[in-house]
C-alpha cells in the first residue's frame, strides 16, 4: 500500500489535474511479470516515438554545425567532429537576421499594444459598464469566431488595398508623411488610404480578436462589483476604475494574452507575406525564411539554411520553457473551446 501511495504522489506534480491518477495498468498489477513486460513495452514504444519526434529538430540544430557534405551523410553524425560554430554567425549575417528580427519585434510589439488596448477597453465596457445592447455586441464579436478566417481573407485583403470610407484628400500630408519604416502608409491619388506595404496592414486586422475580448471579459466578470462600487463612491471615474482597479488585478490574463500575441506574431507568415509583398525590408523573419525556399533567387548552402532555421526556432522554445504553465493551460482551454 505504501508503494501505491508514493506512486500517486509522485505522479501528481506532473499533471496538475485533480482527478484519477491511474491508467490502464494499476500499481498493484505492476508486480506481476506480464504486466511489467507490458509496461516496459509501452515505455519502449514511447521512447521510440519520442526519438522520431525530436530527431528532425536535433538534426536541424546540429546540421547548422556541419559542412554541407557532412550534413547529408547517412547515418547522420550525432555531433560533428569539428563543429563549425561560425556557420551560425554566417547565417545570422548572410540571411540578414538583425533586420528581420527587428521587423518581427516591431510587428509583435504593435500587435500587442493594439490587442491589449482594444480587448481591455471592450471587455471592461461589456463586463462592468454594461451598456444597452451589450449582449448583442458581444454576440457579434463572438460570431466572428464562427467564420473561419481563411474563408474571408480575400475581402480582408481588398480592405487593406483600399480602406473604405477613409479619405485624406483634405488633410495636409505633413501630418502623416514623417512616419518612419513600417509605421508609414501610402495615400492613393484620390485621397484614400492603402495599408499595403505597411505594418498597419498587419496590426489592424490582427487587433480584431474576439477571442481576446472573450477571455478578458470572462476574467473581468470574476472581479467583484463591490470593489468597483467602492471606488465609485470615492469618486473614481470609469477610466480610473479600469487603470487603478481592474488592470492591476488582471496580471494573469494580461500575461496569457501577451504570450500568445508574441508567439503568434513570431510564427505568423501568410498575412504579413501578402501585405508586405512589395517591401522586402519590412517583412518579418518567417517571410524571410520562406524566400529561402526559392533556391534560384536566394541560393544558400543547406548548412547555413539549417543554422538560420535553428536561430529562428530558438526564441519560441525559450518563451515556451519560461511560460510553460500558462501556455499549457491556454492550449487545453482553447483547444476545447475553439
Amino acid at each position: 500500500m505504501k508503494k501505491l501511495f508514493s506512486r500517486k504522489t509522485s505522479a501528481q506534480p506532473a499533471n496538475n489535474f485533480d482527478s484519477a491518477t491511474r491508467g490502464l495498468l494499476s500499481p498493484m498489477e505492476m508486480r506481476s511479470k506480464p504486466a511489467k513486460l507490458a509496461y516496459w513495452l509501452i515505455f519502449a514504444i514511447l521512447l521510440a516515438s519520442t526519438f522520431t519526434c525530436i530527431f528532425p529538430v536535433y538534426w536541424m540544430y546540429t546540421g547548422g554545425l556541419k559542412t554541407p557534405i557532412g550534413l547529408l551523410q547517412f547515418p547522420p553524425e550525432l555531433f560533428p567532429k569539428i563543429p563549425l560554430w561560425e556557420n551560425y554567425l554566417r547565417s545570422w549575417n548572410d540571411l540578414n537576421f538583425p533586420l528581420y528580427f527587428g521587423n518581427t519585434l516591431g510587428l509583435a510589439f504593435g500587435s500587442w499594444v493594439l490587442q491589449i488596448l482594444i480587448s481591455t477597453t471592450a471587455a471592461y465596457s461589456l463586463s462592468k459598464l454594461k451598456p444597452v445592447f451589450g449582449n448583442v455586441i458581444l454576440f457579434m464579436f463572438l460570431a466572428t469566431l464562427m467564420v473561419p478566417s481563411m474563408a474571408y481573407f480575400i475581402p480582408q485583403y481588398l480592405t487593406i488595398v483600399k480602406v473604405p470610407l477613409i479619405n485624406l484628400a483634405g488633410i495636409p500630408a505633413w501630418l502623416y508623411k514623417w512616419l518612419p519604416g513600417g509605421l508609414a502608409f501610402n495615400v492613393l491619388p484620390d485621397g484614400s488610404v492603402t495599408l499595403l506595404d505597411s505594418w498597419w496592414g498587419v496590426w489592424l486586422p490582427q487587433a480584431a480578436s474576439a477571442f481576446n475580448i472573450f477571455v478578458m471579459k470572462s476574467f473581468f466578470d470574476e472581479i467583484p462589483q463591490d470593489l468597483i462600487d467602492a471606488a465609485r463612491m470615492d469618486g473614481a471615474s470609469s477610466i480610473q476604475v479600469l487603470t487603478k482597479i481592474i488592470l492591476p488585478l488582471s496580471g494573469p490574463v494580461l500575461a496569457v494574452i501577451t504570450i500568445f500575441t508574441v508567439i503568434g506574431s513570431w510564427k505568423d507568415f501568410f498575412w504579413p507575406y501578402l501585405v508586405l509583398m512589395g517591401r522586402e525590408d519590412l517583412t518579418p523573419i518567417m517571410v524571410a525564411l520562406f524566400r529561402l525556399t526559392n533556391v534560384q533567387s536566394y541560393p544558400q548552402p543547406l548548412n547555413i539554411v539549417m543554422a538560420g532555421l535553428a536561430i529562428a526556432s530558438t526564441p519560441p522554445i525559450i518563451l515556451f520553457l519560461i511560460f510553460q504553465k500558462q501556455i499549457m493551460r491556454g492550449i487545453v482551454l482553447t483547444g476545447l473551446k475553439g
Binding site: A14, L24, Y39, M60, P155, A210, P316, G335
Partner: protein, 310 residues
C-alpha cells in the same frame, strides 16, 4: 449590488426619473466610448470583410475597375474550372489521410503517456516540441532537409538500406501523404495534451472494477477508456476536419499545389484565383462556398461541445 439599483428602489418621481434617465444615458455614452475602438476595428477588418465576401461573390472585381454586379457568373466560372473538383477531391483526400494517419496517433500516444510513471512530463514536452517551433521553420526543415528527393535525409536512409528512393514531394502519389505525415508530426503534440486532460478525467474506480472482473488491458481500453473519452474524440474528429479543409501553408510552402495539382487545396485555389489570375470575385465565391461547408461542421462542433460538456 451596484449603486444604480439603490436609486431604482426609491419611489420614482418625475425629477428622479429624469435624473435616472440622464445618468443612464451618460453611463451608456461612457460605455460606448470604451467600446468604440473595438467596434471600429471589427467594423473595418472583420464584420465588413465578412459581408463583403458575400457581395464580392456576385461581382466582377479586379484592382483597377470599380466592381460590377454579374449575378452568378463567378459561380459558373468556378464550376466550369476543372480544378475546383480537383481541389475538393484533394481536400477530401487530405482529410481522409489525416484521419487515417493523424487522428489515431495523438490518441495512442496520450493513452500510452497516461500509463507510464516515469518521465510523464518529459514525454509530453517532447511531443509538444514541434508545435512550439514556427511552422515555417519546420516546413523548410522537412522540405529541404528530409523530403528532398535527391539528397534528403529520408532518401539517404532508404538508399543506405538498399531500398528504392521515394519522390516524396515530387510525385503525384506521394506528395499528399508526405504533407499529411508532416502535419501529423507538427500538430500531434497539441492534441496529445487535450487527450491527456480528458484521460485524467476517467474515474480510477472504473478501471479498478474492471480489473477485479478480470478484464485485460485491451478490454479495459475498449470498454472504459474509449467510452469515457468519446466526447473529446468526436470533438477532435470534427476539429480536424475543419482544420484540414482550410489547409494552406503546407502545400503553399512545400509543393505550391503541385505536382500536377496533386496538392491543390481549396485555399490554394482561392489564392491562385485571386493573386495569379486576378479574379477576386471568383476567389470570393469559392471562399463563400468553403464558408458554407465549414459552418455546417462548426455547427456540429458547437453542438458536440454542448452535448459533452460536463
Amino acid at each position: 449590488m451596484g449603486l444604480p439599483m439603490n436609486t431604482d428602489t426609491t419611489q420614482p418621481t418625475a425629477s428622479k426619473t429624469l435624473l435616472h434617465w440622464f445618468y443612464s444615458a451618460k453611463n451608456n455614452l461612457i460605455a460606448y466610448l470604451f467600446l468604440l475602438p473595438a467596434l471600429l476595428i471589427f467594423s473595418f477588418f472583420s464584420w465588413y470583410p465578412i459581408i463583403r465576401g458575400l457581395i464580392l461573390s456576385f461581382q466582377k472585381v479586379n484592382l483597377i475597375d470599380p466592381p460590377v454586379w454579374n449575378g452568378i457568373q463567378n459561380f459558373r466560372l468556378l464550376f466550369l474550372d476543372p480544378s475546383l473538383a480537383v481541389a475538393w477531391k484533394n481536400a477530401a483526400y487530405y482529410t481522409f489521410l489525416g484521419l487515417l494517419i493523424g487522428y489515431f496517433v495523438p490518441l495512442i500516444l496520450a493513452v500510452l503517456i497516461n500509463d507510464v510513471q516515469h518521465g510523464k512530463s518529459f514525454f509530453r514536452l517532447a511531443f509538444y516540441l514541434p508545435v512550439i517551433l514556427p511552422p515555417m521553420a519546420t516546413l523548410i526543415l522537412w522540405k529541404m532537409g528530409l523530403y528532398n528527393s535527391d539528397w534528403g535525409l529520408l532518401n539517404m536512409g532508404l538508399k543506405s538500406l538498399g531500398l528504392e528512393r521515394i519522390l516524396w514531394l515530387d510525385s503525384k502519389q506521394w506528395a499528399m501523404p508526405s504533407l499529411v505525415i508532416f502535419s501529423t508530426w507538427a500538430n500531434a503534440g497539441g492534441t496529445v495534451l487535450i487527450y491527456l486532460a480528458a484521460l485524467q478525467g476517467v474515474p480510477a474506480h472504473l478501471y479498478d472494477a474492471a480489473e477485479i472482473d478480470g478484464a485485460n488491458l485491451w478490454q479495459r481500453f475498449l470498454n472504459i477508456t474509449l467510452p469515457q473519452i468519446r466526447g473529446v474524440m468526436l470533438i477532435m474528429f470534427v476539429l480536424q476536419i475543419i482544420g484540414t479543409m482550410q489547409v494552406f501553408t503546407e502545400p503553399f510552402v512545400m509543393t505550391g499545389g503541385g505536382p500536377a495539382n496533386a496538392t491543390l487545396t481549396i485555399i490554394m485555389l482561392i489564392y491562385r484565383q485571386a493573386f495569379s489570375y486576378g479574379n477576386y470575385g471568383v476567389a470570393s465565391a469559392l471562399g463563400f462556398l468553403l464558408f458554407v461547408v465549414l459552418v455546417l461542421f462548426s455547427g456540429l462542433y458547437l453542438w458536440l461541445t454542448r452535448k459533452f460538456a460536463q
